[in-house]
């Protein structure tokens, strides 16, 4: 019994992360899968779901608006107003189309974010 619990404990310590993703804005939100072992370094949290774009948990605009314009103006204004915007981590749902994601990434860059990373679930 003690051995079993010790093995379970070691397994949990190895496979679980203390850095949880931000709460999924909508049910069914799934991150893409990758093998990158690069650790998260923090920064602005931008979440792109099939429905909407969120900045630090606040809904900014509908994702549909990002599919037909080169810059997402509401996101641009909000990011520009922030003092600390050197880094951003983008949590994108696996189903979001590239044109919407490209607009969000380009908007963050245009608003002065130097380093943009995509967060993925490790394989």
């Amino acid at each position: 019994m003690v051995d079993l619990l010790t093995v379970l404990l070691v397994f949990l310590l190895r496979s679980w992360s203390t850095e949880a993703a931000p709460a999924a804005p909508e049910p069914g939100f799934t991150l893409p899968v990758a093998s990158s072992e690069a650790a998260r370094r923090g920064g602005l949290e931008i979440v792109v779901s099939p429905e909407a774009v969120y900045l630090s948990g606040e809904r900014i605009a509908a994702t549909a608006r990002a599919t037909d314009s080169p810059v997402l103006r509401p996101l641009y204004d909000r990011v520009l107003a922030l003092r600390d915007r050197a880094r951003a981590e983008v949590y994108v749902d696996a189903r979001v189309p590239w044109n919407a994601l490209r607009t969000v990434l380009a908007t963050a860059k245009a608003a002065g974010v130097d380093e943009v990373s995509l967060v993925a679930e490790l394989r």
Binding site: W16, A38, W98
Partner: protein
């Protein structure tokens, strides 16, 4: 004296070990519940991005045996194009041959194995090459973009083209 002290501290031969075991099991249960409440089952990693801006000239250098490595991603299908020098790359005018490979989706998913094999072959031709250009179509889902980017970069142990740029 030491032997006496040892005998005094040792548990008697007929001691009941159950309280000790129960204490150990309780401690492990407590540790596990603490871990389950403070951690998440999802392990996350990040992919740093190099984004081409509007009007940027291609960053992929045209020198070297391998050049202009480009991956066009449409859904889960990928077209790989690259230029391979067929004559001395130091010569004034180097002849280049364009090679193209199709990597169709398998069961609706990216064939990462075949794509990885093509890229590994390209890397073997020019180990100094590090750049690639990924051009997804508008409707390509983020999952495919990330999967292609991940495959193109390779693993830390065997990197392929770590300076992959999204367009």
């Amino acid at each position: 004296v030491r032997a006496d002290a040892k005998r005094r501290n040792a548990p008697p031969a007929d001691a009941d070990l159950r309280p000790t075991l129960i204490a150990a099991v309780t401690l492990l249960f407590l540790l596990m519940s603490f871990l389950l409440t403070t951690t998440a089952g999802q392990r996350l990693g990040v992919l740093d991005l190099e984004l081409a801006e509007e009007g940027d000239v291609a960053a992929v250098p045209s020198r070297g045996v391998l050049s202009n490595l480009e991956l066009r991603v449409d859904g889960s299908d990928v077209q790989v194009r690259m230029a391979i020098a067929t004559t001395d790359i130091a010569a004034a005018s180097t002849a280049r041959e364009t090679r193209a490979y199709a990597v169709p989706a398998v069961s609706g998913r990216l064939d990462a194995g075949r794509l990885g094999a093509i890229l590994a072959e390209a890397k073997a031709m020019d180990p100094s090459a590090e750049s690639a250009r990924i051009v997804p179509t508008d409707g390509t889902p983020a999952a495919s973009v990330v999967a292609v980017l991940d495959t193109v970069r390779g693993t830390p142990g065997s990197p392929l083209f770590p300076r992959a740029e999204l367009r």
